[in-house]
Protein backbone atom coordinates (compact mmCIF):
# COMPACT_ATOMS: atom_id res chain seq x y z
CA UNK A 1 0.00 0.00 0.00
CA UNK A 2 2.99 2.27 0.01
CA UNK A 3 5.19 4.17 2.35
CA UNK A 4 2.81 7.07 2.69
CA UNK A 5 0.08 4.85 3.96
CA UNK A 6 2.37 3.52 6.65
CA UNK A 7 3.46 7.00 7.60
CA UNK A 8 -0.16 8.09 7.77
CA UNK A 9 -1.22 5.14 9.88
CA UNK A 10 1.60 5.66 12.33
CA UNK A 11 0.83 9.37 12.57
CA UNK A 12 -2.87 8.69 13.15
CA UNK A 13 -2.12 6.06 15.78
CA UNK A 14 0.10 8.52 17.55
CA UNK A 15 -2.65 11.12 17.30
CA UNK A 16 -5.18 8.65 18.70
CA UNK A 17 -2.96 8.15 21.71
CA UNK A 18 -2.77 11.89 22.26
CA UNK A 19 -6.51 12.28 21.88
CA UNK A 20 -7.74 9.35 23.92
CA UNK A 21 -4.95 8.92 26.44
CA UNK A 22 -4.21 12.61 26.87
CA UNK A 23 -4.50 12.73 30.68
CA UNK A 24 -1.94 9.95 30.94
CA UNK A 25 0.58 11.73 28.75
CA UNK A 26 0.24 15.27 30.02
CA UNK A 27 2.78 15.87 32.78
CA UNK A 28 0.75 18.66 34.40
CA UNK A 29 -2.84 19.70 34.89
CA UNK A 30 -3.60 21.90 31.88
CA UNK A 31 -5.25 24.49 34.10
CA UNK A 32 -2.58 24.54 36.77
CA UNK A 33 -1.58 28.18 37.12
CA UNK A 34 1.84 29.12 38.36
CA UNK A 35 2.44 32.83 38.03
CA UNK A 36 6.06 32.64 39.02
CA UNK A 37 7.08 30.83 35.87
CA UNK A 38 4.88 32.59 33.34
CA UNK A 39 5.95 32.97 29.72
CA UNK A 40 8.94 30.72 30.06
CA UNK A 41 10.55 29.28 26.99
CA UNK A 42 11.52 25.66 26.57
CA UNK A 43 12.96 24.21 29.76
CA UNK A 44 13.58 20.71 31.01
CA UNK A 45 10.59 20.91 33.34
CA UNK A 46 8.33 22.34 30.66
CA UNK A 47 9.36 20.91 27.34
CA UNK A 48 7.33 23.40 25.36
CA UNK A 49 7.50 26.25 27.81
CA UNK A 50 4.70 27.92 29.73
CA UNK A 51 1.97 30.38 28.85
CA UNK A 52 0.98 33.72 30.28
CA UNK A 53 -0.47 32.11 33.39
CA UNK A 54 2.50 29.84 33.86
CA UNK A 55 0.59 26.76 32.69
CA UNK A 56 2.50 23.97 31.02
CA UNK A 57 2.08 24.44 27.28
CA UNK A 58 2.71 20.81 26.43
CA UNK A 59 -0.05 19.59 28.75
CA UNK A 60 -2.43 22.18 27.37
CA UNK A 61 -1.60 21.16 23.83
CA UNK A 62 -2.32 17.51 24.59
CA UNK A 63 -5.76 18.40 25.92
CA UNK A 64 -6.36 20.97 23.19
CA UNK A 65 -5.71 18.43 20.45
CA UNK A 66 -8.21 16.13 22.11
CA UNK A 67 -10.84 18.86 22.08
CA UNK A 68 -10.36 19.78 18.42
CA UNK A 69 -10.16 16.24 17.14
CA UNK A 70 -13.13 15.02 19.15
CA UNK A 71 -15.30 17.85 17.89
CA UNK A 72 -14.36 17.17 14.29
CA UNK A 73 -15.12 13.48 14.75
CA UNK A 74 -18.53 14.26 16.20
CA UNK A 75 -19.29 16.76 13.44
CA UNK A 76 -18.27 14.36 10.71
CA UNK A 77 -20.08 11.36 12.13
CA UNK A 78 -23.32 13.16 12.93
CA UNK A 79 -23.51 15.03 9.64
CA UNK A 80 -22.66 11.83 7.82
CA UNK A 81 -25.55 10.06 9.51
CA UNK A 82 -27.97 12.88 8.79
CA UNK A 83 -26.72 13.19 5.24
CA UNK A 84 -27.06 9.46 4.79
CA UNK A 85 -30.65 9.41 6.00
CA UNK A 86 -31.63 12.39 3.86
CA UNK A 87 -29.72 11.38 0.77
CA UNK A 88 -30.80 7.77 0.73
CA UNK A 89 -34.43 8.69 1.42
CA UNK A 90 -34.39 11.08 -1.51
CA UNK A 91 -32.75 8.57 -3.81
CA UNK A 92 -34.88 5.58 -2.86
CA UNK A 93 -38.24 7.28 -2.79
CA UNK A 94 -37.56 9.41 -5.85
CA UNK A 95 -40.22 11.51 -7.51
CA UNK A 96 -41.75 14.38 -5.61
CA UNK A 97 -40.05 13.44 -2.34
CA UNK A 98 -36.70 13.52 -4.09
CA UNK A 99 -37.49 16.87 -5.71
CA UNK A 100 -38.51 18.32 -2.37
CA UNK A 101 -35.53 17.02 -0.42
CA UNK A 102 -33.18 18.09 -3.18
CA UNK A 103 -34.53 21.62 -3.05
CA UNK A 104 -33.88 21.68 0.70
CA UNK A 105 -30.37 20.43 0.12
CA UNK A 106 -29.92 23.04 -2.61
CA UNK A 107 -30.91 25.75 -0.21
CA UNK A 108 -28.40 24.60 2.35
CA UNK A 109 -25.74 24.35 -0.31
CA UNK A 110 -26.58 27.82 -1.60
CA UNK A 111 -24.98 29.44 1.42
CA UNK A 112 -21.27 30.01 1.53
CA UNK A 113 -20.41 27.54 4.28
CA UNK A 114 -18.25 29.79 6.40
CA UNK A 115 -20.68 32.69 6.44
CA UNK A 116 -23.48 30.33 7.36
CA UNK A 117 -21.48 28.69 10.13
CA UNK A 118 -20.41 32.02 11.54
CA UNK A 119 -24.00 33.28 11.47
CA UNK A 120 -25.30 30.27 13.35
CA UNK A 121 -22.44 30.14 15.81
CA UNK A 122 -22.74 33.88 16.36
CA UNK A 123 -26.45 33.80 16.98
CA UNK A 124 -26.34 30.77 19.22
CA UNK A 125 -23.34 32.07 21.08
CA UNK A 126 -19.84 30.72 21.07
CA UNK A 127 -19.36 27.39 22.80
CA UNK A 128 -18.09 23.94 21.97
CA UNK A 129 -21.59 22.58 21.66
CA UNK A 130 -22.85 25.41 19.48
CA UNK A 131 -19.90 25.27 17.14
CA UNK A 132 -20.48 21.56 16.71
CA UNK A 133 -24.13 22.20 16.00
CA UNK A 134 -23.35 24.98 13.53
CA UNK A 135 -20.88 22.84 11.63
CA UNK A 136 -23.34 19.98 11.45
CA UNK A 137 -26.07 22.26 10.13
CA UNK A 138 -23.80 23.54 7.41
CA UNK A 139 -22.20 20.29 6.37
CA UNK A 140 -24.87 17.62 6.33
CA UNK A 141 -26.13 18.71 2.92
CA UNK A 142 -22.82 17.85 1.27
CA UNK A 143 -23.08 14.31 2.55
CA UNK A 144 -26.73 14.06 1.59
CA UNK A 145 -26.02 15.09 -1.97
CA UNK A 146 -23.16 12.68 -2.17
CA UNK A 147 -25.12 9.76 -0.74
CA UNK A 148 -27.98 10.48 -3.10
CA UNK A 149 -25.61 10.45 -6.05
CA UNK A 150 -24.03 7.18 -4.93
CA UNK A 151 -27.38 5.50 -4.34
CA UNK A 152 -28.68 6.60 -7.73
CA UNK A 153 -25.55 5.30 -9.42
CA UNK A 154 -25.66 2.06 -7.49
CA UNK A 155 -29.34 1.62 -8.27
CA UNK A 156 -28.52 1.70 -11.96
CA UNK A 157 -25.70 -0.79 -11.73
CA UNK A 158 -26.28 -3.92 -13.81
CA UNK A 159 -25.68 -6.17 -10.82
CA UNK A 160 -28.88 -4.83 -9.30
CA UNK A 161 -30.70 -6.00 -12.41
CA UNK A 162 -28.93 -9.31 -12.15
CA UNK A 163 -30.04 -9.78 -8.55
CA UNK A 164 -33.60 -8.74 -9.44
CA UNK A 165 -33.63 -11.26 -12.22
CA UNK A 166 -32.65 -13.91 -9.70
CA UNK A 167 -35.78 -13.05 -7.76
CA UNK A 168 -34.40 -10.62 -5.23
CA UNK A 169 -36.86 -8.10 -3.85
CA UNK A 170 -36.14 -4.44 -3.37
CA UNK A 171 -35.28 -4.80 0.26
CA UNK A 172 -32.66 -7.42 -0.50
CA UNK A 173 -31.02 -5.40 -3.24
CA UNK A 174 -30.94 -2.29 -1.08
CA UNK A 175 -29.42 -4.04 1.90
CA UNK A 176 -27.03 -6.31 0.07
CA UNK A 177 -26.04 -4.32 -2.96
CA UNK A 178 -26.96 -0.66 -2.89
CA UNK A 179 -26.00 0.30 0.64
CA UNK A 180 -22.63 -1.48 0.64
CA UNK A 181 -21.76 0.35 -2.56
CA UNK A 182 -22.55 3.63 -0.83
CA UNK A 183 -20.61 2.97 2.33
CA UNK A 184 -17.19 2.85 0.80
CA UNK A 185 -17.27 6.20 -1.00
CA UNK A 186 -19.12 7.71 1.92
CA UNK A 187 -16.57 6.62 4.48
CA UNK A 188 -13.72 7.72 2.24
CA UNK A 189 -15.37 11.08 1.86
CA UNK A 190 -16.02 11.38 5.57
CA UNK A 191 -12.38 10.61 6.15
CA UNK A 192 -11.35 13.49 3.93
CA UNK A 193 -13.76 15.74 5.73
CA UNK A 194 -12.13 15.21 9.12
CA UNK A 195 -9.13 17.29 8.13
CA UNK A 196 -11.42 19.85 6.54
CA UNK A 197 -13.64 20.10 9.62
CA UNK A 198 -10.60 20.33 11.85
CA UNK A 199 -9.43 23.38 9.89
CA UNK A 200 -12.88 24.94 10.18
CA UNK A 201 -12.95 24.44 13.94
CA UNK A 202 -9.55 25.95 14.61
CA UNK A 203 -10.41 28.82 12.26
CA UNK A 204 -13.63 29.59 14.08
CA UNK A 205 -11.98 29.27 17.48
CA UNK A 206 -9.27 31.58 16.22
CA UNK A 207 -11.79 34.32 15.51
CA UNK A 208 -13.38 33.71 18.89
CA UNK A 209 -16.50 31.86 17.81
CA UNK A 210 -15.47 28.40 18.84
CA UNK A 211 -14.48 26.68 22.02
CA UNK A 212 -14.16 29.08 24.93
CA UNK A 213 -11.51 29.17 27.66
CA UNK A 214 -10.55 27.71 30.02
CA UNK A 215 -11.08 24.61 27.85
CA UNK A 216 -7.83 24.35 25.91
CA UNK A 217 -8.34 24.34 22.13
CA UNK A 218 -5.73 24.75 19.42
CA UNK A 219 -7.29 27.65 17.49
CA UNK A 220 -8.17 29.55 20.64
CA UNK A 221 -4.66 29.03 21.99
CA UNK A 222 -3.18 30.53 18.86
CA UNK A 223 -5.56 33.44 19.12
CA UNK A 224 -4.50 34.07 22.72
CA UNK A 225 -0.87 33.82 21.77
CA UNK A 226 -1.14 36.75 19.35
CA UNK A 227 -0.38 38.93 22.37
CA UNK A 228 3.00 37.41 22.81
CA UNK A 229 4.21 36.97 19.27
CA UNK A 230 7.30 39.01 19.83
CA UNK A 231 8.10 37.95 23.39
CA UNK A 232 7.02 34.33 23.50
CA UNK A 233 6.72 33.00 19.95
CA UNK A 234 6.64 29.42 21.21
CA UNK A 235 3.07 30.08 22.29
CA UNK A 236 1.85 30.33 18.70
CA UNK A 237 4.42 28.14 17.00
CA UNK A 238 3.73 24.92 18.90
CA UNK A 239 -0.07 24.89 18.58
CA UNK A 240 0.25 25.73 14.89
CA UNK A 241 2.66 22.88 14.34
CA UNK A 242 0.29 20.57 16.12
CA UNK A 243 -2.66 21.58 13.93
CA UNK A 244 -0.50 20.97 10.90
CA UNK A 245 0.48 17.60 12.29
CA UNK A 246 -3.12 16.52 12.79
CA UNK A 247 -4.29 17.78 9.42
CA UNK A 248 -1.25 16.40 7.69
CA UNK A 249 -1.72 12.94 9.13
CA UNK A 250 -5.26 12.81 7.78
CA UNK A 251 -4.19 14.34 4.49
CA UNK A 252 -1.36 11.92 3.86
CA UNK A 253 -3.50 8.92 4.70
CA UNK A 254 -6.27 10.18 2.46
CA UNK A 255 -3.75 10.91 -0.27
CA UNK A 256 -2.22 7.46 -0.15
CA UNK A 257 -5.64 5.85 -0.14
CA UNK A 258 -6.67 7.88 -3.15
CA UNK A 259 -3.51 6.86 -4.96
CA UNK A 260 -4.20 3.31 -4.04
CA UNK A 261 -7.67 3.43 -5.49
CA UNK A 262 -6.64 5.34 -8.55
CA UNK A 263 -3.82 3.31 -10.05
CA UNK A 264 -3.28 5.77 -12.90
CA UNK A 265 -1.67 8.30 -10.61
CA UNK A 266 0.07 5.69 -8.57
CA UNK A 267 3.27 7.01 -7.20
CA UNK A 268 4.98 7.29 -3.93
CA UNK A 269 5.83 10.44 -2.18
CA UNK A 270 9.25 10.53 -0.70
CA UNK A 271 9.46 12.32 2.59
Amino acid sequence: MGKNFKIGVIMILFLAIIVFAGPLIAPYDPNDVNMSIRLQGVTSAHIMGTDQLGRDLFSRLVYATGTSVKISLVVVIVSMVIGFVFGSTAAFLGGAVDEFLMRIIDVFMAFPTKIFTIAIAGILGASAFNITLALIITSWAVYARMVRGCVLTAKEMPFIDAATALGANRFYTIIKHVLPSVFQPLSTFAFQRIAHTMMAIVGLSFIGLGVQPPTPELGAMISESKNFMSTAPHLFIFPGLLISYVVFSFNILDDSLRDYWDPRIKSELAL
Binding site: A141, F206, V246, I265
Partner: protein
Protein backbone atom coordinates in the same frame (compact mmCIF):
# COMPACT_ATOMS: atom_id res chain seq x y z
CA UNK B 1 -27.46 28.93 -24.60
CA UNK B 2 -29.66 31.86 -23.63
CA UNK B 3 -32.43 29.40 -23.10
CA UNK B 4 -30.22 27.39 -20.83
CA UNK B 5 -29.40 30.44 -18.73
CA UNK B 6 -33.04 31.37 -18.63
CA UNK B 7 -33.96 27.92 -17.47
CA UNK B 8 -31.30 27.99 -14.80
CA UNK B 9 -32.55 31.35 -13.60
CA UNK B 10 -36.10 30.08 -13.45
CA UNK B 11 -34.91 27.11 -11.49
CA UNK B 12 -33.21 29.43 -9.03
CA UNK B 13 -36.40 31.19 -7.99
CA UNK B 14 -37.60 28.61 -5.45
CA UNK B 15 -34.06 28.23 -4.16
CA UNK B 16 -33.74 31.97 -3.69
CA UNK B 17 -37.07 32.22 -1.92
CA UNK B 18 -36.23 29.38 0.45
CA UNK B 19 -32.74 30.77 0.94
CA UNK B 20 -34.05 34.19 1.89
CA UNK B 21 -36.55 32.63 4.24
CA UNK B 22 -33.84 30.64 5.94
CA UNK B 23 -31.65 33.74 6.16
CA UNK B 24 -34.51 35.62 7.77
CA UNK B 25 -35.31 32.83 10.16
CA UNK B 26 -31.75 32.55 11.42
CA UNK B 27 -32.57 35.14 14.03
CA UNK B 28 -35.10 32.91 15.68
CA UNK B 29 -32.35 30.48 16.55
CA UNK B 30 -31.33 32.97 19.16
CA UNK B 31 -32.43 32.25 22.71
CA UNK B 32 -33.32 35.90 23.35
CA UNK B 33 -35.54 38.29 21.42
CA UNK B 34 -34.06 40.86 19.06
CA UNK B 35 -35.47 43.70 21.12
CA UNK B 36 -33.69 42.51 24.21
CA UNK B 37 -30.40 41.93 22.48
CA UNK B 38 -30.41 45.32 20.87
CA UNK B 39 -31.77 47.40 23.67
CA UNK B 40 -29.37 45.71 26.02
CA UNK B 41 -26.45 46.89 24.00
CA UNK B 42 -27.93 50.31 23.35
CA UNK B 43 -28.60 51.15 26.97
CA UNK B 44 -26.36 49.65 29.50
CA UNK B 45 -29.22 48.55 31.77
CA UNK B 46 -32.22 46.30 31.44
CA UNK B 47 -34.69 47.65 28.89
CA UNK B 48 -38.12 48.50 30.21
CA UNK B 49 -41.22 46.92 28.74
CA UNK B 50 -42.09 50.26 27.21
CA UNK B 51 -38.76 50.47 25.47
CA UNK B 52 -39.21 46.94 24.18
CA UNK B 53 -42.65 47.74 22.83
CA UNK B 54 -41.44 50.92 21.16
CA UNK B 55 -38.60 49.05 19.64
CA UNK B 56 -40.78 46.21 18.37
CA UNK B 57 -43.11 48.68 16.80
CA UNK B 58 -40.33 50.65 15.20
CA UNK B 59 -38.73 47.57 13.65
CA UNK B 60 -41.97 45.69 13.01
CA UNK B 61 -41.14 42.85 15.37
CA UNK B 62 -44.68 42.91 16.71
CA UNK B 63 -46.07 41.57 13.43
CA UNK B 64 -46.52 37.85 12.69
CA UNK B 65 -43.31 36.26 11.44
CA UNK B 66 -44.51 35.71 7.89
CA UNK B 67 -45.59 39.32 7.52
CA UNK B 68 -42.27 40.47 8.92
CA UNK B 69 -40.55 38.25 6.43
CA UNK B 70 -42.67 39.48 3.53
CA UNK B 71 -41.98 43.11 4.26
CA UNK B 72 -38.32 42.40 4.77
CA UNK B 73 -38.16 40.56 1.48
CA UNK B 74 -40.08 43.31 -0.28
CA UNK B 75 -37.58 45.87 0.94
CA UNK B 76 -34.70 43.56 0.18
CA UNK B 77 -35.77 43.24 -3.44
CA UNK B 78 -35.77 47.04 -3.62
CA UNK B 79 -32.23 47.03 -2.27
CA UNK B 80 -33.16 48.13 1.24
CA UNK B 81 -31.86 45.60 3.74
CA UNK B 82 -32.35 47.79 6.74
CA UNK B 83 -29.80 49.39 8.95
CA UNK B 84 -27.18 48.05 11.26
CA UNK B 85 -28.37 48.10 14.84
CA UNK B 86 -24.98 48.95 16.20
CA UNK B 87 -24.16 52.02 14.15
CA UNK B 88 -27.17 52.64 11.97
CA UNK B 89 -25.36 52.35 8.66
CA UNK B 90 -27.10 50.81 5.64
CA UNK B 91 -26.51 47.07 5.49
CA UNK B 92 -26.19 47.17 1.72
CA UNK B 93 -23.52 49.88 1.89
CA UNK B 94 -21.60 47.91 4.48
CA UNK B 95 -21.83 44.82 2.33
CA UNK B 96 -20.61 46.59 -0.78
CA UNK B 97 -17.77 48.22 1.09
CA UNK B 98 -16.49 45.07 2.70
CA UNK B 99 -17.21 43.10 -0.46
CA UNK B 100 -14.81 45.37 -2.29
CA UNK B 101 -12.13 44.91 0.31
CA UNK B 102 -12.58 41.15 0.32
CA UNK B 103 -12.55 41.01 -3.45
CA UNK B 104 -9.28 42.95 -3.68
CA UNK B 105 -7.58 40.68 -1.23
CA UNK B 106 -9.02 37.47 -2.50
CA UNK B 107 -8.65 38.05 -6.22
CA UNK B 108 -5.07 39.18 -5.90
CA UNK B 109 -4.25 36.24 -3.66
CA UNK B 110 -5.86 33.79 -6.05
CA UNK B 111 -3.94 35.35 -8.91
CA UNK B 112 -0.79 34.84 -6.89
CA UNK B 113 -1.81 31.26 -6.18
CA UNK B 114 -2.33 30.63 -9.89
CA UNK B 115 1.01 32.17 -10.77
CA UNK B 116 2.70 29.89 -8.26
CA UNK B 117 0.68 26.75 -8.86
CA UNK B 118 0.35 26.59 -12.63
CA UNK B 119 4.02 26.22 -13.55
CA UNK B 120 4.82 23.99 -10.59
CA UNK B 121 1.78 21.79 -11.10
CA UNK B 122 2.28 21.45 -14.84
CA UNK B 123 5.96 20.70 -14.56
CA UNK B 124 5.30 18.28 -11.76
CA UNK B 125 2.75 16.40 -13.85
CA UNK B 126 5.02 16.43 -16.84
CA UNK B 127 7.88 14.97 -14.88
CA UNK B 128 5.70 12.68 -12.81
CA UNK B 129 7.64 10.79 -10.17
CA UNK B 130 10.79 12.80 -10.73
CA UNK B 131 12.59 14.35 -7.80
CA UNK B 132 10.92 17.65 -8.60
CA UNK B 133 7.51 16.02 -8.57
CA UNK B 134 8.12 14.31 -5.28
CA UNK B 135 9.31 17.49 -3.68
CA UNK B 136 6.43 19.52 -5.02
CA UNK B 137 3.92 16.93 -3.87
CA UNK B 138 5.42 16.79 -0.41
CA UNK B 139 5.51 20.57 -0.37
CA UNK B 140 1.88 20.90 -1.30
CA UNK B 141 0.75 18.16 1.05
CA UNK B 142 2.54 19.80 3.95
CA UNK B 143 1.33 23.23 2.88
CA UNK B 144 -2.25 22.08 2.71
CA UNK B 145 -2.04 21.13 6.36
CA UNK B 146 -1.11 24.62 7.49
CA UNK B 147 -4.01 26.86 8.52
CA UNK B 148 -3.97 30.09 6.53
CA UNK B 149 -4.19 32.31 9.60
CA UNK B 150 -1.22 30.58 11.16
CA UNK B 151 0.75 31.03 7.98
CA UNK B 152 -0.23 34.69 8.26
CA UNK B 153 1.12 34.82 11.79
CA UNK B 154 4.38 33.27 10.69
CA UNK B 155 4.64 35.87 7.94
CA UNK B 156 3.92 38.65 10.39
CA UNK B 157 6.47 37.24 12.79
CA UNK B 158 9.14 37.15 10.11
CA UNK B 159 8.38 40.23 8.06
CA UNK B 160 6.88 42.59 10.61
CA UNK B 161 8.35 41.69 13.93
CA UNK B 162 11.77 40.27 13.17
CA UNK B 163 12.64 42.01 9.91
CA UNK B 164 10.34 44.99 10.40
CA UNK B 165 9.81 45.25 6.66
CA UNK B 166 6.10 45.18 6.06
CA UNK B 167 3.02 46.46 7.86
CA UNK B 168 1.17 43.81 9.75
CA UNK B 169 -2.36 45.10 9.55
CA UNK B 170 -4.69 47.63 8.05
CA UNK B 171 -6.06 48.82 4.80
CA UNK B 172 -4.49 52.17 4.23
CA UNK B 173 -1.41 51.76 2.10
CA UNK B 174 -0.52 49.52 -0.85
CA UNK B 175 1.98 47.58 1.25
CA UNK B 176 -0.85 46.50 3.51
CA UNK B 177 -2.11 43.95 1.08
CA UNK B 178 1.20 42.10 0.75
CA UNK B 179 1.17 39.93 3.85
CA UNK B 180 -2.49 38.90 3.83
CA UNK B 181 -2.22 38.26 0.10
CA UNK B 182 0.82 36.08 0.66
CA UNK B 183 -0.86 34.19 3.45
CA UNK B 184 -4.00 33.49 1.46
CA UNK B 185 -2.26 33.06 -1.87
CA UNK B 186 0.29 30.61 -0.54
CA UNK B 187 -2.25 28.53 1.26
CA UNK B 188 -4.49 28.33 -1.79
CA UNK B 189 -1.52 27.56 -4.00
CA UNK B 190 -0.76 24.35 -2.10
CA UNK B 191 -4.02 22.69 -3.00
CA UNK B 192 -3.97 24.29 -6.42
CA UNK B 193 -0.62 22.68 -7.21
CA UNK B 194 -2.16 19.32 -6.48
CA UNK B 195 -5.19 20.09 -8.54
CA UNK B 196 -3.16 21.27 -11.51
CA UNK B 197 -0.88 18.27 -11.25
CA UNK B 198 -3.74 15.80 -11.03
CA UNK B 199 -5.74 17.30 -13.87
CA UNK B 200 -2.76 17.62 -16.16
CA UNK B 201 -1.61 14.13 -15.27
CA UNK B 202 -5.06 12.78 -15.92
CA UNK B 203 -5.15 14.44 -19.31
CA UNK B 204 -1.65 13.26 -20.11
CA UNK B 205 -2.85 9.69 -19.69
CA UNK B 206 -5.66 10.15 -22.16
CA UNK B 207 -5.54 8.66 -25.59
CA UNK B 208 -5.66 11.89 -27.52
CA UNK B 209 -2.34 12.94 -26.06
CA UNK B 210 -0.90 9.75 -27.55
CA UNK B 211 -2.58 10.73 -30.80
CA UNK B 212 -1.02 14.16 -30.60
CA UNK B 213 2.40 12.56 -30.17
CA UNK B 214 1.79 10.24 -33.06
CA UNK B 215 0.86 13.24 -35.16
CA UNK B 216 4.39 14.56 -34.72
CA UNK B 217 3.63 17.47 -32.42
CA UNK B 218 6.40 18.59 -30.13
CA UNK B 219 6.04 18.13 -26.40
CA UNK B 220 5.56 21.85 -25.98
CA UNK B 221 2.76 21.93 -28.50
CA UNK B 222 1.15 18.93 -26.88
CA UNK B 223 1.32 20.58 -23.50
CA UNK B 224 -0.05 23.91 -24.61
CA UNK B 225 -2.60 22.91 -27.19
CA UNK B 226 -3.90 19.64 -25.88
CA UNK B 227 -2.99 18.91 -22.30
CA UNK B 228 -3.39 22.32 -20.72
CA UNK B 229 -6.46 23.25 -22.65
CA UNK B 230 -8.28 20.19 -21.38
CA UNK B 231 -6.83 20.23 -17.91
CA UNK B 232 -8.01 23.81 -17.66
CA UNK B 233 -11.64 22.76 -17.40
CA UNK B 234 -11.47 21.29 -13.89
CA UNK B 235 -8.98 23.95 -12.87
CA UNK B 236 -11.26 26.76 -13.95
CA UNK B 237 -14.15 25.15 -12.12
CA UNK B 238 -12.23 24.81 -8.90
CA UNK B 239 -10.58 28.21 -9.11
CA UNK B 240 -14.00 29.68 -9.86
CA UNK B 241 -15.50 28.00 -6.85
CA UNK B 242 -12.49 29.13 -4.82
CA UNK B 243 -13.10 32.68 -5.94
CA UNK B 244 -16.69 32.61 -4.78
CA UNK B 245 -15.41 31.50 -1.42
CA UNK B 246 -13.92 34.89 -0.80
CA UNK B 247 -17.22 35.53 0.91
CA UNK B 248 -16.20 34.49 4.35
CA UNK B 249 -13.51 32.11 3.15
CA UNK B 250 -10.76 34.35 4.40
CA UNK B 251 -12.39 35.27 7.66
CA UNK B 252 -9.51 34.18 9.89
CA UNK B 253 -6.91 35.89 7.73
CA UNK B 254 -9.00 39.03 7.48
CA UNK B 255 -9.36 39.13 11.24
CA UNK B 256 -5.67 38.43 11.68
CA UNK B 257 -4.69 41.35 9.46
CA UNK B 258 -7.57 43.65 10.41
CA UNK B 259 -8.60 43.66 6.77
CA UNK B 260 -12.07 45.22 6.50
CA UNK B 261 -13.44 42.38 4.39
CA UNK B 262 -16.70 40.52 4.47
CA UNK B 263 -15.53 37.77 6.79
CA UNK B 264 -14.11 40.16 9.33
CA UNK B 265 -17.12 42.42 9.20
CA UNK B 266 -19.55 39.55 9.35
CA UNK B 267 -17.82 37.78 12.22
CA UNK B 268 -18.07 40.99 14.21
CA UNK B 269 -21.73 41.45 13.36
CA UNK B 270 -22.43 37.84 14.31
CA UNK B 271 -20.66 38.34 17.62
CA UNK B 272 -22.71 41.47 18.26
CA UNK B 273 -25.92 39.76 17.16
CA UNK B 274 -26.53 42.62 14.78
CA UNK B 275 -29.60 41.01 13.29
CA UNK B 276 -30.25 43.10 10.15
CA UNK B 277 -26.60 42.77 9.23
CA UNK B 278 -26.60 39.00 9.74
CA UNK B 279 -29.78 38.54 7.73
CA UNK B 280 -28.67 40.89 5.00
CA UNK B 281 -25.17 39.46 4.71
CA UNK B 282 -26.37 35.89 4.67
CA UNK B 283 -28.93 36.69 1.98
CA UNK B 284 -26.59 38.77 -0.16
CA UNK B 285 -23.77 36.30 0.06
CA UNK B 286 -26.10 33.43 -0.82
CA UNK B 287 -27.44 35.33 -3.81
CA UNK B 288 -23.95 36.21 -4.90
CA UNK B 289 -22.82 32.66 -4.38
CA UNK B 290 -25.66 31.22 -6.42
CA UNK B 291 -25.12 33.57 -9.32
CA UNK B 292 -21.37 33.20 -9.22
CA UNK B 293 -21.82 29.45 -9.48
CA UNK B 294 -24.12 29.95 -12.42
CA UNK B 295 -21.47 32.04 -14.13
CA UNK B 296 -18.82 29.42 -13.44
CA UNK B 297 -21.05 26.80 -14.97
CA UNK B 298 -21.53 28.93 -18.04
CA UNK B 299 -17.79 29.55 -18.38
CA UNK B 300 -17.12 25.84 -18.06
CA UNK B 301 -19.62 25.17 -20.77
CA UNK B 302 -17.79 27.65 -22.94
CA UNK B 303 -14.57 25.83 -22.30
CA UNK B 304 -16.01 22.40 -22.80
CA UNK B 305 -18.09 21.98 -25.94
CA UNK B 306 -19.10 18.48 -24.90
CA UNK B 307 -21.59 19.71 -22.34
CA UNK B 308 -25.04 19.71 -23.83
CA UNK B 309 -27.18 22.72 -23.03
CA UNK B 310 -30.39 20.90 -23.64
CA UNK B 311 -30.05 18.10 -21.19
CA UNK B 312 -28.42 19.72 -18.23
CA UNK B 313 -30.66 20.33 -15.28
CA UNK B 314 -29.71 22.66 -12.51
CA UNK B 315 -26.50 21.83 -10.82
CA UNK B 316 -25.08 23.57 -7.84
CA UNK B 317 -21.68 23.46 -6.38
CA UNK B 318 -21.13 23.45 -2.68
Amino acid sequence: MIRYIFRRLLYLIPVLILTSFLAYMLVYLSPSSPAQIILQSRYSGDPTQEQINDFNQEYGFDQPILIQYASWLKNAVRGDLGKSLSDGSEVLDDFIYSFKASAELYFSSQLLALIIALPIGVYSAFKANSIFDRISRAYSLVGMSIPDFWLGMLLVYVFSIVLNLLPSFGYTSPQNIILPMLALGLSSSFSLIRLVRTSVLEVLHLNYIRTARSKGLSEGQIMMKHALRNALIPIVTVVGIHLTHFIGGAVAVETMFAWPGLGNFFAKAAGNQDIPVIQGFVLLSAVFFIFANLIIDIICKQLDPRIDYQNEGGKNNG
